[in-house]
């Protein structure tokens, strides 16, 4: 799983049974439906969406679209289906293999849609976007590109940006007269000082593994630049042999051996609130996490979020060739269109809604930072404008925004890579073994 704020993709046996039943049901139902003949009252397209708090923004967009002139012209309406977050990926996978497939669906771009693209189930939107002023100019280019697959667009950005940010505890920093690190040496220096003071430098939800992945993503990017992972993402497993990957893995081992994450991080989880609590309670001074850490803390420890939560970009690494302005994380989420869509015009008309000012305003009000090019003007209305502006600038100025590796590689490779990262952090494999194992992934 990428960094979805609700975290893991764990699902229960009950889910599996439920999914089977659902598939049977939807298959059966749609089989009945097709016999009944559609067409009366225009076509209604279904859109699968990740069902968390942000879904109200999409619901509002759907409601607006359904009564718009564009919908009337295209002769179609949208019906939103919210799917609980932890079930989203497997549910989408089962649905896409059945007649009950959605016409439009939420995804993470990149590798998360690769199997669908390879199975010929998605519409290539490259020409549509190129030929449409609204879509072409509506979004930040780095964000639009980050969801690409081999240079082709299959999705239109539809949610807030989720860059990975170095969060810190302001009062701990003030107490020990520290500044957020801008270079790796400073980070190591702070690390040493905090350890002497008996404070774990970094909170880390190691049992989920994806928080560990964030460290590697930034280290590899700062050391070797975004091209290192781009090569791997494009299918060249030899890319894991880049010296930057080995160097990053060695730096990870140094941090772990040095106690930068404390001694218990392998059994701490982010999803169940363990790591955020360690951080908020001052047991750890910093936390490398996606931008949703702010809302997580606001929900669980509001005082901490409002008064003590500080944020900074990931420091640069001396001698590294990567641009220190580069960002990793989830650029955003995307809408993609099923190749067997019942009304392509209506689907595309709906996607244009996501570039509108009203839509961006809704996202901002919900605490998200939109990826639209006009977003900067709206950020004053955010629940925390300072934080929103920091995020927006970070992404806008980033020469490259690398999609979370697990999302970029897709489920199969991503899962296997998680295993290797878990082993590296837990000390079950050396940096050299890590690189060798990753090169063998296929």
């Amino acid at each position: 799983m990428g960094y979805t704020s609700n975290g893991g993709r764990s699902f229960s046996r009950r889910w599996v049974l439920g999914a089977g039943a659902t598939t049977l049901l939807t298959t059966g139902l749609s089989a009945c439906g097709s016999g009944g003949g559609s067409g009366s009252g225009g076509s209604t397209l279904t859109a699968f969406v990740y069902g968390d708090d942000a879904v109200k923004v999409q619901q509002a967009a759907v409601d607006r679209f359904n009564t718009s002139a564009a919908a009337k012209k295209a002769g179609g309406k949208i019906k939103l289906e919210r799917i609980p977050g932890s079930d989203y990926s497997p549910k989408l996978r089962t649905a896409m293999g059945s007649p009950g497939a959605p016409d439009v669906f939420f995804n993470w771009g990149g590798g998360s849609i690769k199997p669908y693209v390879e199975a010929g189930k998605l519409i290539d939107l490259t020409d549509v976007i190129e030929n449409d002023e609204v879509l072409k100019k509506g979004f930040l280019p780095s964000v639009l590109a980050a969801g690409d697959l081999k240079g082709r667009h299959y999705g239109v950005p539809m949610r807030g940006m989720q860059p990975v940010i170095l969060f810190y505890n302001k009062s701990v920093f003030a107490e020990h007269k520290l500044q957020p690190p801008t270079t790796w040496d400073q980070l190591l220096d702070i690390n040493a000082k905090l350890k002497r003071a008996g404070i774990t430098p970094f909170a880390l939800g190691g049992s989920d593994i994806w928080p560990e992945l964030m460290w590697l993503e930034y280290l590899v990017d700062r050391i070797g630049g975004e091209k290192v992972f781009r090569r791997i993402q494009d299918g060249d497993a030899e890319g894991w042999g880049d010296p930057a990957v080995l160097k990053a893995a060695e730096m990870v081992r140094e941090l772990v051996d040095d106690g930068a994450f404390g001694s218990k991080f392998t059994s701490v989880s982010y999803v169940n609130g363990g790591a955020p609590a360690v951080f908020a309670k001052g047991k750890a001074a910093m936390h490398l996490m996606g931008s949703w850490e702010y809302s997580t803390q606001l929900g669980k420890f509001p005082d901490f979020a409002k008064k003590e939560l500080g944020w900074a970009p990931f420091p640069k690494i001396e001698g590294g060739s990567g641009d220190a302005r580069n960002v990793v994380g989830n650029p955003t989420n995307y809408w993609s269109i099923n190749a067997r869509v019942r009304n392509k015009d209506a689907a595309i008309a709906f996607l244009k809604e996501c570039a509108s000012r009203t839509y961006a305003r809704d996202l901002v009000a919900n605490g998200d930072v939109p990826t639209t090019s006009n977003a900067a003007l709206l950020l004053g209305d955010a629940p925390n404008p300072e934080y929103a502006r920091f995020q927006y600038q970070m992404v806008e100025e980033a020469p490259a925004f690398t999609l979370s590796w697990d999302q970029a590689l897709g489920d199969e490779l991503g899962t296997k890579m998680h295993t290797e990262i878990g082993k590296l952090f837990a000390g079950k494999s050396s940096p050299g073994e890590f690189v060798a194992a990753c090169k063998g992934l296929k």
Partner: protein, 300 residues
């Protein structure tokens, strides 16, 4: 197992005519057979078929012959998994058998407090495995739990936690089985032994244990097959970690199927598990002489 036992039971020694009169028509078994076929046999056959294909859940499965099976043989993770599964089975068997045998024999007594305590011991079995695992996960939280140690983060700690939590949950069942078994032992045996001057321990090892040998087999088969298919606890407590140190076979299968969407390979692992579990339980029954159905009361 239970099917074989019920089939063998009533037929033994009964006259054909009486059997025909006193037993229901075979058609009565139809709903059960259909249910079993639809929910056990068909999926099993389907999984076996899928093990010879490549399928990511989209489109149609593509036949790949023995690819998944040869991959299975070459996979270093499978070797580790197999070893872990065997280790887990052995440890669970030892832990659960020893404790529930003693508890069961003790609970077979007649004092009132035993009945009350037995009822309390039974409680964990009423909870779902998921609830039990979630509960222990919270208790083992390294920063906010009751044991503030990196239990689940160390290989041995995580493994022992799985053995313990599984034992905690399933021992009540086995205790119940042993309690029932122990109550079946005729009191005359103990009275005779007491006259001969046998003490408590001598009575336990010379009467109780031998008399319980079929009970031990029954309980062991359940524990062994149960441990082979152990899943929720691993998923919730450790997710196979740290590293891959608790990734037992069923977890490996889940990961291949529902995280990597590599259903062909997952099906190969599943088929392998079915074969291994069936083979193992048959072997257990054969070795212990359970199948021959000789009574423990022979010669009495």
């Amino acid at each position: 197992m239970s099917k074989a036992a019920t089939k063998a039971g009533p037929t033994a020694g009964s006259k054909p005519a009486r059997a025909r009169a006193g037993r229901p028509h075979a058609a009565w078994a139809l709903p059960g057979v259909l249910f079993f076929a639809f929910f056990a046999i068909v999926p099993m056959a389907l999984a076996f078929y899928l093990s010879f294909t490549e399928w990511d859940g989209l489109g149609d499965p593509r036949p790949v012959g023995l690819d998944n099976w040869s991959r299975l043989l070459d996979d270093p993770r499978l070797t580790q998994s197999l070893w872990l599964t065997v280790l887990l089975t052995v440890c669970s068997w030892l832990f659960q058998t020893v404790v529930s045998l003693l508890l069961g024999v003790w609970a077979a007594g007649k004092q009132r407090n035993r009945a009350v305590l037995s009822a309390i011991f039974f409680v964990p079995l009423l909870l779902s495995s998921t609830a039990v695992a979630v509960l222990f996960y919270a208790l083992l939280d390294p920063n906010f739990g009751i044991i503030q140690k990196d239990t689940l983060g160390s290989s041995s700690g995580a493994f022992l936690a799985i053995v313990f939590v599984g034992g905690w949950q399933f021992m009540p069942l086995h205790t119940l089985i042993y309690q029932g078994g122990a109550r079946q032992i005729p009191a005359v045996l103990y009275q005779a032994a007491a006259i001969d001057g046998a003490g408590r321990y001598r009575q336990f090892f010379s009467i109780t244990l031998p008399q319980l040998r079929h009970t031990i087999t029954t309980s062991s088969v359940l524990i062994v097959v149960g441990s082979l298919t152990y899943f929720e606890t691993v998923l919730i407590l450790t997710k196979g970690g740290p590293g891959t140190d608790t990734a037992i076979l069923p977890y490996l299968m889940y990961e291949a199927g529902f995280k990597s969407y590599d259903f062909g390979y997952a099906s190969a692992i599943a088929s392998f598990l079915v074969v291994a579990a069936t083979g193992l339980s048959l072997l257990l029954v054969r070795l212990t002489g359970f199948g021959s159905m000789r009574s423990t009361r022979e010669g009495m």
